[in-house]
Amino acid sequence: MAAILRLSVLCGAQGSRGLFLRTPVVKPAHVSAFLQDRLSPGWYGTQHIHLTPSRHSGSKAASLHWTSERIVSVLLLGLLPAAYLNPCSAVDYSLAAALALHSHWGLGQVVTDYVHGDGSQKAAKAGLLALSALTFAGLCYFNYHDVGICKAVAMLWKL
């Protein structure tokens, strides 16, 4: 919101009365074309930034990442009752993978939100990758050499 306010200030919008009409925003191409037809003298200096379809390819990765995050979340959700009702090696390794990936991506969002600056971000993300890799390795090691995640929880709960 603050970014939109700043943009309109730079572009000489007069008062907040017409703020939302005069605010330049990122709009799909067909909407921008419609707005250009309605230009009035008060529009001076405003800039229309719109994405053309050919420039969408850069944001595809982000969209794919978002969808993958939700898929892993649903998978992990399903693995919880599966671990209780049908504990086995396959569920153990699936849990290890889903847990490691879900926490890696979740902590990645936290890093993106709170770590500012190019260098710090890169370092934090590298550290996070190391931690997630180590966690996954540890869980797989536990599944292979020890009782496995499902059995471990069952044993812990019988205490």
């Binding site: 200030v9 907040s16 959700l77 997630s132 390795a137 869980l139 020890d146 044993m155 205490l159």
Partner: protein, 145 residues
């Protein structure tokens, strides 16, 4: 038409930052001093907090499996040898399962939002309270198992 001039956008932004300057001094977001705390805001913070705590726990478990000597059973035997009272064991189980249940139920609520459902303010508060009740009940139930 207007009885008094509307404040310019830049005034709005600067006033908000000024109102939240106490928070800026502590290197916190000024939003924390401006916005009145609400249930959705608290629950969102808790969702992140429980997520980070759970991740920490899972990582601790994974790294311990790689570094610590002995197998899982030996550590369980050690805990059994402490002869902890049933009340303490129940409390410990509750403490373990509470953040997991909160994060799971609230996670389902997040997925519903991603589908575009339940985004009205009234629904936000209703689902929030429902989640809290579900969390307490499911945690109590699982800890008793």
């Amino acid at each position: 038409m207007w009885s008094h001039p509307e404040p310019s956008p830049i005034k709005i932004v600067l006033t908000s930052r000024h109102a939240g300057r106490h928070c800026l001094r502590s290197h916190l977001s000024p939003q924390l001093c401006i916005r009145s705390w609400s249930l959705p805001m608290m629950m969102s913070i808790c969702h992140r907090g429980t997520g980070m705590a759970l991740s920490g726990g899972v990582s601790l478990f994974g790294v311990s499996a790689l570094l610590l000597p002995g197998n899982f059973e030996s550590y369980l035997e050690f805990v059994k040898s402490l002869c902890l009272g049933p009340a303490l064991i129940y409390t410990a189980k509750f403490a373990l399962v509470f953040p997991l249940m909160y994060h799971t139920w609230n996670g389902i609520r997040h997925l519903m939002w991603d589908l575009g459902k339940g985004l009205k303010t009234a629904h936000l508060y209703q689902s929030g309270v429902a989640i809290l009740v579900l969390t307490v009940l499911s945690s109590a139930g699982l800890a008793a198992m």
